[in-house]
């Protein structure tokens, strides 16, 4: 297992950039997010983009509703969040079933693969099942070399087939967060 530290001194991985290019290719315009360290590189790219609008949220369920509004107005979006945030979305995910709109979310996983903080484990362990109970299809990327392919498949089925989709980005991929004093 490799470790992630809070200082970004080491060289940045390539997969967040690959996600960004995939989202650009699918003409994604609205990117609501609740920050997560695993999404930080992608969020920076989105906030610096001239075609995408990064929209910070107070809670993740806001993002589900926002993406419905974006679609109703003719724009595609993607929701960036951490696994704990999935629990905050449950009732709002009804919108994906009622409106059958292209819902795509990219979820950085906590509570697995060498987790230090037990508080992340309950929701992290139930993230996939929670999505599936709500009718959202789940894909997962665990290794850096598969991220591009998995995100592309997720975006394709969400935007082309209006199939609500979550792509889980494994903690193994991101690196377990290291807590030091």
């Amino acid at each position: 297992m490799h470790a992630r530290t809070e200082t970004a001194s080491d060289s940045q991985p390539a997969w967040p950039e690959e996600i960004f290019s995939t989202l650009q290719r699918f003409d994604v315009r609205q990117v609501p997010y609740v920050p997560d360290a695993g999404h930080s590189q992608l969020i920076e790219r989105v906030l610096g983009s001239s075609t995408m609008r990064g929209i910070p949220l107070t809670t993740e369920e806001e993002g589900v509703a926002l993406l419905l509004g974006a679609w109703a107005g003719g724009q595609r979006g993607v929701l960036l969040m951490q696994s704990s945030g999935v629990g905050n979305c449950i009732n709002m995910l009804s919108l994906t079933q009622i409106f059958r709109f292209p819902f795509l979310t990219l979820v950085t996983m906590r509570g697995e693969w060498g987790e230090f903080n037990p508080w992340q484990v309950p929701m992290g362990s139930n993230t996939q099942a929670a999505f599936e109970l709500c009718g959202v299809k789940v894909l997962r990327a665990t290794h850096p070399e598969e991220v591009r392919e998995v995100v592309e498949a997720g975006a394709a089925q969400a935007y082309n087939a209006a199939t609500p989709t979550a792509v889980l980005l494994s903690q193994r991929l991101i690196g377990a967060k290291v807590f030091v004093k």
């Binding site: 929209i55 910070p56 926002l66 109703a72 107005g73 724009q75």
Partner: protein, 196 residues
């Protein structure tokens, strides 16, 4: 229970939606959706029958996607209270074409009239202002509703927020469509977008 000089919700909403100029109207679940239906069905009415707490965010997504069109969210105090954070999110984005109107009867009318937080202590205008929505006002007269209705259709100088104290009457329900795919595809069609 009703106090003097409170406004009639149906009159408020039909005034807000008069001469729409292309306005997209999002209705929070419950009575607000019935009020919008009562004012007249329209391709650009976006009715909600659930997703409580999400009305303002749906309006925000629409307003950002269609910056030239006025977007108005009409919802109740209970629905607004469930999504207070969305006012903070709107305050950060500041879309000039978004207006939010809360029809505040200080109660959960759809579930038996239980009192809401606005009856006791919450000042929604204060909340909206503190969230960075500078044009936030309390409306108590039809003249103020008329002025607000004119300004919101300019699709500029927003976001704006209005809290309208209405009477607690439970009016006859005017039922809109409950079919989400119909509602969203009809709205998209009116904007020139195709179904998938």
């Amino acid at each position: 229970m009703s106090k003097a000089n409170l406004l009639d919700r149906r009159s408020v909403v039909s005034e807000l939606l008069k001469d729409r100029n292309g306005t997209i109207a999002v209705g929070g679940l419950g009575a607000s959706t019935y009020d919008i239906a009562a004012a007249g069905d329209d391709d650009r009415n976006f009715y909600l029958w659930g997703g409580m707490g999400g009305a303002v965010m749906i309006g925000l997504g629409l307003a950002l996607a269609q910056p030239e069109l006025p977007v108005i969210v009409i919802t109740g105090d209970g629905e607004m209270l469930m999504g207070l954070g969305s006012l903070a999110t709107v305050g950060v984005q500041k879309p000039a074409n978004l207006s939010i109107v809360v029809l505040d009867n200080e109660a959960y009318g759809e579930t038996g009239g239980q009192v809401s937080h606005t009856a006791a202590s919450v000042d929604l205008v204060g909340v909206a202002k503190a969230c960075g929505i500078a044009d936030s006002r309390a409306i108590t007269t039809m003249a103020e509703v008329e002025a607000f209705a004119v300004s919101l259709k300019e699709a500029s100088r927003g976001p704006r927020f209005a809290n309208v104290k209405i009477d607690g009457a439970n009016l006859e329900r005017v039922l809109s469509s409950r079919d989400g795919t119909f509602i969203v595809n009809r709205l998209r069609g009116s904007l020139g977008h195709q179904p998938i």
